[in-house]
Symmetry: C2
Amino acid sequence: MTRVEKGRDLARKGEHHHKREDPAEVLNRYIARHGLKATRQRTLIFETFYAAGGHLSAEELLERVRLEDPKISQATVYRTLRLLTECGLAEARNFGDGQTRYEIASDEHHDHLICTECGRIEEFEDPEIEALQEKVARAHGFEMTYHKMELYGVCPECRSK
Amino acid sequence: MTRVEKGRDLARKGEHHHKREDPAEVLNRYIARHGLKATRQRTLIFETFYAAGGHLSAEELLERVRLEDPKISQATVYRTLRLLTECGLAEARNFGDGQTRYEIASDEHHDHLICTECGRIEEFEDPEIEALQEKVARAHGFEMTYHKMELYGVCPECRSK
DNA sequence: GTAGATGCAAAAGCTTTGCATGGGT
DNA sequence: ACCCATGCAAAGCTTTTGCATCTAC
């Protein structure tokens, strides 16, 4: 069960529109402003999360972090993920498999394509669909604030097997 | 191992036009065909679920069922919900509030509009959006099997407050 | 009578929390 | 030195399961 890494894709995508602030700096500023502390564990978890490109569950992140430091506790991973979420660097998602997965927060909204065979997750955005969603919401009298959309199917690699 | 939601095996695709078979009969046939038994508890849970119109969590359903029979066990509600799901009468959804909610399965696919103020859930379908979703999936080389889409916002009633 | 269903409580899986200790600032 | 962060284990929540008993067939 190999999850595809997409760190570079994300980085490239980010350059299209705005220049994102350095995540490490965002984190450090948040820590400083709130009287928190920059610890070895936080740095490691933060870097591992970013290196993985997101879409990780707490358990998967813990596993990776422990390759570097086997003594990191589960609780610290959960607490750090909450911290990253609070300072806007990560976003919690849940794809109905019972675990929360976290992704790197991006300036642009995007939705997901998920392979039901291998679990691979790809991101996409489609302004045309978004426009129609707005339209549907308005037709029902709703003022839409956000949405979630996931397309499930079989990815090219799994199809060719 | 992906624990992605089980595919929808919507029986009787041929019967369009909202003409659904009597759910009670579907259930009874399923029970008969599989050597199961029609018990008082199953009937009660099934009827309560339908009477409520769906979108219930197991806990909420248990609560309602206990108004009628306070001795119904939680486990029986969960087991019955699984049964209803297996025979295609119910569908499990999860809207990210940590609980699985079940809805009455319908022949037609639909998505949801959810009010972030009062929790109200409305259903809709939009063929135009569905077509675009297919298109996006194909563009990524995916063969789409199903999707989920939820629009969150404020409903007319809550807006006017 | 027999296989399946129920109720209860225990267990399981994910996440959070209490507490004593360790470590940034 | 202060107080936040960590690690560990225990507790919380939702859902599942083992088991003795009951019940539909």
